[in-house]
Subunit: 523 residues, 2 copies
């Protein structure tokens, strides 16, 4: 595969000016040397052609080589701050005199020096790059004057240094001078100290007044400064475009109008060999539960293979699902398929499109006790920005003897009927939020929001968790039992047919909505 | 302070070839258009001048701008592997088709795309650099065909990825083809899992045959590959010169001849407000102990301030000390002033210059019981590559009532006479090695050596440790006691005048060696 020189070399404004100056001198000497107009024309033509060639050199990818590529840092200058390209600025952090060059990687190694008093002054030569400073996933407008940028940053940078983030708004029709900077810029690290090479950052930028109020378009830039993280002598600032609003595109009424959906599901990254049948059951169950004014955002980190896509397709076509292909994030080594980044992207991307947002997994089933509807439950919790609800852990292999010979045709929620009732175990909870009041979110709860939170939801809402079933392509039933209570592998279980009793109505719902096309789905 | 464009832009050999081709076409058309020889000359002159200008453009730093610098990655190609400059090669790690550009930082952000089936393909745009891939401190020849490179590498790179290192030897008088690659290249991580942004790496490279055997000079390059550490799709290899042997410079007999010194001290980084008087005592004591065929390598990480330098100077002038200014390493955030890197640099730098190497601190005093000399002890341990010896912890504040009124004139080892005898406490040991058999070392022992190690040195050698005295500029004596045993702050102490009894002879030795010039040294 050919490697292309995809970054155009660029001689800065000043450098170009210097070249121009030289050319003029040359031109003057030509005039002195030759008075012949025809010759002058020729020289000018030659100049033009040569300049064109020289320019092409700077722009065209070089397709002539066959050997290893030689990448290096090149510094050129910019004289305007309204460029739309990425820039990196390096400034010394301390004000003491230093012999360290200001380029990240010096062209050739410095050498140790022996001072007059015999002291050996050792040099340390740094090379290359082991991690990016910042990786963007999404940038979203959160209001008239506020934005959120979701991405990854280097973990040791955040652990041992204090990188800073600032936003700059550059109007579309701007002269260089009228860009504005955010007055409040703070970062949220929502991933509870997890992370590996990279960790999740949500940058919140707020400007002192409305941005793009005239709807004439503009661009948001993020400036990410290392503050000496990788090199204490250098504050490296990377500046890059994160959001582009075209003229007329902005609809400020979005922030105050009724959201399109009542309930939106933000899924964690799906990966591995998921069972199409389990996914089929899950989506039919939850479309039925959440109803017409709901939407499901599914994040495919490699788990939505051909057969899983088949069971999602009917619901995709009905408009219930948005499928986000996030396989690219696997390039960046963070916690658990960059789960915390993904849920935060979902939060901000759909913040104004739903009244409530739910965060749970595809092996988990929300359950509302009899006489409750999703509307009645959420209306009763509308004073809260966030509520959490408890888990009902279900066995992934204990089934009923009564299903003998038929269990392979039954749904997971129908045949897995034994509930783990071990006491004294702290069990994860799941949660829902009203996203307009939330700045960042997590996997089991949000810790960055305005308003109140409650965990007193018993009797209103809970979830059944079929841990270990979703990536299982074999038949889950391993033990057929004929009891209402059992100790299995030192864990006490009781028979719980709550979900089993609902299965028939979910099947009926699916048939009504999408017909029989998924009837032959495999485990 | 003006920032300079210190990395020269470089159009690769292939690109240059293409340009040449274009110029020839131009030249041909000129010939067709003009048959006049004078005009042709003029055009050729213009060509030459313009080419020179174009070349200068690539080389000269641009000194014309005043604004922020715009740093960007530029990729050019190399067609030869014998260049002496730093190169970075990026290759895809997986062989699947990918739309990711091969530059570390794309020129402008990619955008999300919606596929035909409605799936949103999300992109993740990486920017900048948070940490270097590799930072060199030193590279040393370890034998006819083997080398060691000591430096720092990105900690998460080593923790979560498997970066690889390889050496390349490029003879001075080489054509492109006759460079050779090391057959065995392995990395040692000597710092026991410590490290922060950076961690210590010792790369050992061994070639299949003698390198630079003809003594005609050459260069050693290290190739450090990230193996996808910061970006799983990319294997970024930085190649840079680490060692340069000029023709005739190599003395192969060094590796087999008797070392210049019998005993060499490798000190850990000195930092903070050290007490000149304590340092004065320490160096006089140890020059006396180790004798004429000894040498002390002191590493100044900021601790050798003006007054400390004063007390070292007489010994520097006598040739007993080499002072290494390593303040620059503070730029790179590692464990404890990059202590592990510093001792490993010392090991390899002086590997063939000493029979034995000692690693301990400047608040520690080696002690040999009566009837032992340093020679007799080490001769008895010569079968061992390494031996460790035990600590005698001394109080940093308990003194003798007998010294009342005079203690401020007494030396630290003279007046601090109470030894901590608390049982059941694991105490650090210190160690010495025969460096020719050692590949990497630590602070309390080496774990990478050939041969045997022993800790059975009781009765032969031990060390007194005056913890908390070296960075203390106040008078250490706080409590004057007139007892042989005491429990102080819940710790049992006994009177131990071993070192006190030696003080007079150390003072006499100092006076003999350097005269009275340090008599007025302050605490």
């Amino acid at each position: 595969m050919g490697k292309e020189r995809s970054e155009k070399e660029k001689v800065g404004g000043g450098g170009g000016g210097g070249g121009e100056h030289n050319k003029r001198n040359m031109f003057v000497s030509c005039v002195v040397m030759n008075s012949c107009a025809a010759e002058l024309k020729l020289v000018l033509t030659a100049l033009l052609v040569l300049c064109s060639i020289a320019t092409l050199f700077q722009i065209l990818p070089s397709r002539f080589t066959i050997s290893a590529s030689d990448l290096r840092f090149c510094i050129s200058r910019i004289t305007t701050t309204t460029t739309t390209t990425t820039t990196t600025t390096i400034s010394p952090l301390n004000s003491t005199t230093t012999t360290i060059p200001l380029t990240p990687s010096p062209p050739s190694a410095q050498k140790d020096q022996v001072a007059d008093n015999g002291v050996i002054k050792r040099v340390f030569n740094p090379y290359g790059s082991a991690a990016y400073n910042f990786i963007t996933m999404g940038a979203y407008r959160d209001g008239h004057n506020t934005f959120a940028i979701i991405g990854l940053a280097s973990k040791p940078l955040l652990l041992y240094s204090t990188p800073t983030y600032q936003c700059e708004w550059v109007p579309e029709s701007s002269s260089a001078s009228n860009s504005t900077f955010s007055t409040v810029s703070y970062r949220i690290l929502p991933d509870w100290g997890y992370g590996r090479v990279y960790t999740v950052v949500v940058v919140n930028c707020t400007f002192s007044e409305a941005v793009n109020g005239e709807n004439s378009g503009g661009k948001l830039f993020l400036e990410a400064s290392t503050s000496g993280g990788g090199d204490k002598n250098r504050n490296i600032t990377d500046r890059f475009e994160v959001l582009n609003e075209s003229p007329g595109d902005l609809n400020m009424s979005l922030f105050s109008s009724k959201p399109k959906y009542d309930y939106l599901y933000c899924g964690s990254p799906l990966y591995g060999g998921l069972s199409p049948q389990r996914v089929r059951e899950w989506i039919a169950y939850h479309v039925r539960l959440f109803g017409e004014r709901s939407h499901f955002v599914i994040h495919d980190a490699g788990g939505v293979h051909e057969e899983v896509l088949e069971v999602l397709k009917p619901w995709l076509e009905l408009g219930y699902i948005t499928l986000q292909d996030i396989k690219e994030q696997e390039r960046f080594d963070g916690y658990y398929h960059n789960q915390f980044m993904v849920v935060n992207d979902c939060l901000h991307r759909y913040k104004f499109m739903a009244k409530w947002m739910f965060f749970f997994d595809v092996d988990e089933y929300i359950y509302l006790p009899p006489k409750n509807t999703i509307k009645s439950v959420l209306d009763s919790l509308s004073d809260y920005t966030q509520f959490t609800f408890e888990q009902m852990p279900m066995s992934s292999k204990l089934c009923l003897s009564a299903d003998y010979g038929r269990y392979y045709r039954k749904w997971g929620i129908e045949k897995l009927v034994y509930r783990d009732v071990k006491r004294g175990v702290r069990r994860d909870r799941k949660y829902a939020i009203q996203p307009r009041n939330v700045f960042a979110t997590g996997v089991h709860m949000s810790q960055n929001f305005a308003g109140k939170t409650t965990y007193k939801t018993e009797g209103k809402i809970k979830y059944f968790h079929y841990h270990g079933t979703i990536a299982q392509r074999r038949e889950p039933c391993r033990n057929l039992l004929n009891v209402t209570e059992i100790n299995f592998e030192k864990v006490p279980y009781v028979l719980d047919t709550t979900m089993r009793d609902l299965a028939w109505s979910v099947k009926k719902f699916e048939l009504k909505m999408i017909g029989p096309k998924l009837q032959n789905t495999r485990q």
